[in-house]
């Protein structure tokens, strides 16, 4: 795919992706806008500037892979894949409707270009490591990126995988934690605190970076540092804001799993014009 590296151009794409997220979830009347909006800069930077991929040849064996382990943020992934040309933009608003390829959580049966069906939290890091091991056996340049939710890493399997990844030096895998600090029941720090989070990943043997996950140049630089890091996998802790880009959604846990009504859609789109 034609690479776009200019942060200003990427920011324009981010705005368009956010508009899709609002209209899609508004039309669906259910879904997860907050954690989709927090992940926009990371996904846009990955798909337009970092991943080696070809929407006209989604099963290209040497491609880089992306797994959305926090599968409930499907709207951001769908919007990104549609804008890349994998799937139709015009049917994004069929999200969650019977027969739509845009299922409630990413479903490889409906979109074969997806790298995985996700939705049950805690599993994507292991999947990514399996793909990383396969690439290493094949001496393939393919890298695998996986986005984890912050609440998601309360799952024990994440830490089984974290141990495995560093011990086996799976340096072609990069995990990105969308650290938006909120989960369904409230603030992560009140539900089950993750801090000291960077220290945990470091203790588990990962090259660990902390960035502002909405600062595109910071995302770019972290992803290139990950690719250059050999001998251990990288974890990028992306500090983000849940609901980012829509003033009344930012930082409010309500928008984890509640969608905007028509008036709220209109308001949000005005802000994102």
């Amino acid at each position: 795919m034609h690479r776009i590296s200019n942060p200003t151009d990427l920011a324009v794409i981010c705005r368009q992706i956010r508009r899709h997220i609002i209209t899609m979830t508004g039309a669906a009347k259910s879904g997860h806008p907050g954690g989709s909006l927090s992940a926009v800069e990371v996904l846009v930077t990955l798909y337009w500037d970092v991943l080696r991929h070809d929407p006209s040849n989604p099963k290209w064996p040497l491609r880089d892979r992306f797994i959305l382990s926090k599968g409930h943020a499907a709207p951001v992934l769908y919007a990104v894949m549609a804008e890349c040309g994998y799937t139709p933009v015009e049917s994004l608003n069929t999200l969650r409707k019977l027969g739509s390829i845009y299922q409630g959580h990413p479903d490889i049966r409906y979109i074969p270009a997806l790298e995985a069906s996700t939705g049950s939290l805690g599993e994507g890091l292991s999947l990514a490591l399996g793909m990383g091991l396969a690439a290493r056996l094949d001496r393939s340049p393919s890298r695998t990126y996986v986005m984890l939710g912050d609440g998601e890493i309360q799952e024990g399997q994440i830490w089984e995988a974290a141990m495995f990844g560093s011990f086996n030096k799976v340096d072609n895998v990069c995990a990105i934690v969308d650290y938006n600090k909120l989960q369904l029941d409230g603030a992560v720090k009140d539900i089950l605190e993750l801090e000291p989070l960077a220290a945990k990943w470091r203790a588990f043997g990962w090259h660990t970076l902390q960035i502002d996950g909405h600062d595109i140049p910071a995302v770019q630089s972290a992803l290139s540092e990950a690719a250059a890091t050999k001998g251990k996998p990288t974890c990028i802790i992306a500090h983000t804001v849940k609901g980012k880009g829509v003033s009344f959604m930012e930082g409010d846990p309500k928008w984890h799993g509640v969608t905007p009504n028509p008036e709220e859609v209109e308001l949000a789109l005005k802000e994102l014009a």
Partner: protein, 320 residues
């Protein structure tokens, strides 16, 4: 093609050993075969593969959920992974990963449970899987195999490697009586009629196949002609052979080293309910077991030929 239908069946290799050796053979034939294990390579016998192909054996440590998911990732990137642990652990601790990452997207992962049933013996109930077939059969897209001996296990492992889609193979710890000669042929989803019979059918799987053969000899001495079917494929089930058995013998006994409430027996009953309803009796487990030698436990928990004989008499009495 039974090697021997007399009461004494010679012991062959354990089915887990047949699995491990076949896996190493497959490793030589196909560089895409890779293996995951969870700190039990010497017990699951993936050690044969590990010695020859250390780069393709992924030791996951005591973390079965991660192992299953790593296997799914390897499969999605084009490898043919076999992941193995005790059935009791891989099917329970890995179940959610098998459900969401393997069954649902129909991923080409092979799962081999070893030390199944109570015949693991001395280790006791925490290590004994009595519900693994129920869990495996609860997963759409999975083929579920439960071979009885060395020869049928070799076939099962080779079939799994060649098949595109998820497979669960149940194997056991102790040496298993040799049922088949090495040239025996099997077909997926097709029961093997080991002994012909007209009065009752003994439907068995795994270690209980040998007991069914012994039971048919005991019943013959009483003048009862008992057919023996080896159900090496639990899913898809050979409904045709079962319907034929119900039609021709009028009564069946199902025998398995598994909970009777959720294993082969209920699947057979379901199959007959929609084809040829017939009286069925069930030989299997109904409670957690305990430590003891495999032979002691099989005796104590009622998984022996005389238990099948008693069930056969009972089910024959129920014929109309």
């Amino acid at each position: 093609m039974p090697a021997n239908t007399k009461y004494e069946l010679k012991l062959g290799a354990a089915t887990r050993e047949a699995f491990g050796k076949t896996l190493a053979e497959l490793g030589r034939e196909n560089p895409n075969i890779v293996v995951g294990d969870a700190d039990l390579t010497k017990s699951t016998m993936t050690t044969f593969f590990a010695k020859e192909f250390p780069d393709r054996l992924f030791e996951c440590g005591i973390a079965e959920a991660n192992m299953v998911a790593i296997g799914a990732g390897l499969a999605m990137a084009g490898k043919i992974p076999f992941v193995s642990s005790f059935s009791a652990f891989v099917m329970t601790k890995g179940f959610e990963q098998l459900r969401c990452l393997v069954a649902y997207p129909n991923v080409n992962l092979k799962v081999v449970g070893t030390h199944s049933g109570i015949s693991i013996g001395e280790d006791g109930p925490s290590q004994m899987s009595m519900e693994d077939l129920a869990l495996a059969c609860a997963l759409p897209n999975f083929t579920v195999l439960c071979p009885a001996d060395e020869v049928s296990t070799k076939w099962a492992v080779r079939w799994a490697a060649a098949h595109q889609g998820p497979v669960f193979i149940r194997t056991g710890r102790p040496k298993a009586p040799a049922i088949y000669q090495s040239a025996a042929q099997f077909e997926i989803g097709k029961a093997v009629e080991l002994v012909p019979g007209a009065d009752v059918t003994l439907v068995a799987t795994g270690l209980l196949v040998a007991e069914a053969i012994k039971a048919s000899d005991l019943l013959a001495a009483e003048g009862i002609s008992a057919r023996v079917l080896d159900i090496h494929t639990i899913k898809p089930l050979d409904e045709e052979a079962l319907a034929r058995a119900a039609r021709e013998t009028g009564a069946l006994v199902v025998a398995e080293e598994h909970l009777v409430d959720s294993g082969l027996g209920v699947r057979v009953a379901q199959a007959l309910a929609r084809t040829v309803p017939a009286p069925v009796e069930f030989v299997g487990l109904t409670r957690f077991a305990e430590s003891g030698s495999p032979d002691q436990l099989l005796d104590l928990y009622g998984l022996r030929a005389p238990d099948l004989v008693a069930a056969a008499r009972k089910v024959i009495a129920r014929k109309k």
